[in-house]
């Protein structure tokens, strides 16, 4: 049986291993080269490093860490803002009936059809006229505004799957609406909130164009913009070791985050995608 299974799988294994290897080789190369001296990158291009050049990481850390900190501050605040607003909104849209509810919901729905490219320029002008350029708020407020749209839908469909009887019996026991929200809905939705938050976090982490136009002071650069600046400086002087160390440092926080949360994330993507 084992042998038969192996015989069946073998051609699959061969093709998949080749595909997986090519897919992730650039990152393996990045990781290996980050431990080489610049000399060694030239002379021993494809090989393993002869000794671990940890100084690359010290050099790169000095350059990259302020950008990393900016991104962490902005994405954490944004994620909390998005989670708070979208869970309250979703709760209201599922639990209450009030005049204009459908219109308001349609207004939010319509945003899914408006591409970011259309609003980029006028949104920049708004932020400029509000005198928010070169502040964290220039990033956080628009990120929350746009970031809450998808979560409102996902959470609304999840909240409406919670049985109504649960709320009714809580009401009989004297629970207020706030308690229903905080003590029933939120605890039951932990994993979906987690997924939604993580998706948002990842989106903000990867934003490039928006900070590029609204933040011009290097001390406020997020990691994406900072890495491009860092790249042009280090690649210009062919300092490949520290450059790849910098790339690796920029990747580490998300890698660690995923190590702990990948299961939820994948479950969330696949179930959310089916509903959409």
């Amino acid at each position: 049986m084992r042998l038969a299974e192996f015989k069946h799988d073998l051609p699959f294994h061969i093709v998949i291993v080749i595909l997986v290897f090519i897919s992730i080789y650039p990152f393996i190369f990045m990781l290996i080269s980050s431990f080489k001296t610049t000399e060694e990158v030239f002379h021993n291009f494809f090989g393993l490093p002869s000794s671990l050049e940890y100084r690359n990481y010290l050099d790169a850390w000095k350059e990259v860490s302020p950008f990393l900190l900016n991104t962490i501050i902005v994405s954490v605040i944004t994620m909390f803002g998005v989670l708070v607003l979208s869970s309250i909104d979703a709760y209201i849209f599922t639990r209450f009936d009030f005049p204009g509810k459908d219109i308001l919901f349609f207004l939010i729905l319509s945003l899914l059809m408006i591409p970011g490219i259309l609003t980029l320029v006028p949104r920049f002008l708004v932020v400029r006229d509000l005198k928010l350029l070169n502040t964290y708020w220039a990033l956080i407020l628009p990120y929350i505004a746009g970031g809450q749209v998808m979560p409102i839908f996902i959470l609304r469909s999840f909240f409406s799957s919670i049985p109504k009887e649960l709320f009714e019996s809580a009401k009989i026991d004297g629970a207020s609406e706030t308690q229903c929200f905080l003590k029933i809905t939120i605890p039951l939705s932990k994993s979906i909130l987690f997924t939604v938050g993580l998706m948002n976090f990842l989106n903000i982490w990867n934003e490039y164009i928006w900070p590029l136009v609204t933040v011009t002071e290097p001390k406020l650069f997020p990691i994406t913009v900072g890495l491009v600046v860092f790249q042009s400086r280090y690649a210009g002087s062919a300092a490949w070791g520290p450059l790849f160390a910098g790339y690796t440092i920029a990747s580490i926080p998300i890698v660690i985050l995923f190590l702990f949360t990948m299961k939820y994330y994948i479950a969330g993507i696949t179930s959310g995608a089916l509903k959409a």
Binding site: H8, S23, L85, P115, L120, V121, P122, M262, L274
Partner: protein
């Protein structure tokens, strides 16, 4: 009869008003969301439509020019013509890639009997998603580096050094280098969605198909694909939207060059707004892209409905 008509509108108005007062907390709690949406979404979207009919540098008063921006863009602007050609090639290529390669990978992993290995492969294929997209782009920029790049070093190592070139700086290869970026193009997200779709198909269906002798490619064609049509269409819509308005990769790798040979509408919009101070013109480009997206999405959605009914 006459009385009723006069009274009832007033009555419903009063009732509506009472309902609104009763639910005032709902509106109050929704307010922060709608303030943010108004300031950073609705107002910008509406003013994009408005400014697309103006010539404006963003500072001095805008000057109304009617359809002039659109006429210029569609019929006269040569950079826009190159951008349109490039984005057509890129979008077609990327959309076809998005629905074939990740599906192929998902089918391969779905086909393995050894579940432990399948799990390991799946985890490895998620790595590209975990690495920040900017790191991915910068690593690919290095792949194409003329002196030290991975691609040229690899060609030298296998004795094909005559093929080495500045992939991103050469007019004849820059666009192909952009297309090749991310090879073998297994998008983690699309791959996961396809794999989940396949795993959701009931095993009874596969058993029945096996008895009827429907296996291999035949099974994929007549069972798998019809049953994951929902996923295919979702990815069709999303990858079209992404491909049509995306330009970060091109900005970082070539910035539209050499010359304008890899220019795309998104980047051209960006340059017009933030380098040439032509805000109105940039909004017109945004409007054109928005209209095209609207039409394409409409076609996609229409197609979904008809084929699910049929």
């Amino acid at each position: 009869m006459g009385n009723k008509e006069i009274i009832s509108p007033g009555g419903t108005m009063k009732k509506l008003f009472r309902e609104i007062i009763k639910n005032r907390n709902c509106y109050l709690l929704l307010l922060p969301t709608f303030i943010l949406l108004f300031v950073f979404e609705y107002y910008p979207a509406l003013s994009a439509v408005y400014y697309s009919f103006f010539e404006w540098d963003g500072f001095t008063p805008p000057r109304y020019v009617g359809l002039e921006n659109f006429i210029q863009l569609i019929f006269k602007d040569t950079v826009m013509a190159i951008s349109a050609k490039n984005i057509t090639i890129l979008t077609l290529f990327r959309v076809i890639i998005a629905i074939t390669v990740p599906l192929f990978a998902a089918e391969l992993i779905f086909g393995i009997f050894n579940t432990k290995m399948a799990y390991i492969y799946r985890t490895l294929l998620v790595i590209p998603m975990v690495v920040p997209s900017m790191v991915n782009l910068l690593v690919w920029k290095f792949v194409y580096n003329p002196q030290y790049g991975l691609l040229n070093q690899f060609l030298k190592a296998i004795g094909l050094s005559n093929l080495c070139r500045a992939w991103l700086g050469d007019f004849s290869t820059a666009l192909y280098a952009i297309l090749f970026l991310g090879f073998p193009w297994i998008s983690s997200l699309w791959f996961l969605i396809f794999l989940a779709g396949l795993q959701n198909i009931s095993t009874d269906i596969f058993d029945a198909a096996k008895i009827d002798g429907v296996t291999g490619l035949k099974r994929i064609r007549f069972i798998d694909i019809p049953l994951i049509l929902g996923q295919i269409k979702l990815i069709l819509i999303l990858s079209t939207i992404n491909a049509l308005q995306g330009y970060v990769g091109i900005m970082v790798l070539t910035n539209g060059g050499p010359g304008n040979s890899t220019m795309v509408p998104g980047l051209y919009l960006y340059n017009n707004a933030f380098y040439f101070n032509k805000m109105g013109y940039a909004c017109s480009i945004g409007m054109i892209l928005f209209s095209i997206l609207l039409v394409l999405t409409y076609i996609n959605l229409k197609y979904i409905r008809s084929s699910e009914e049929g």
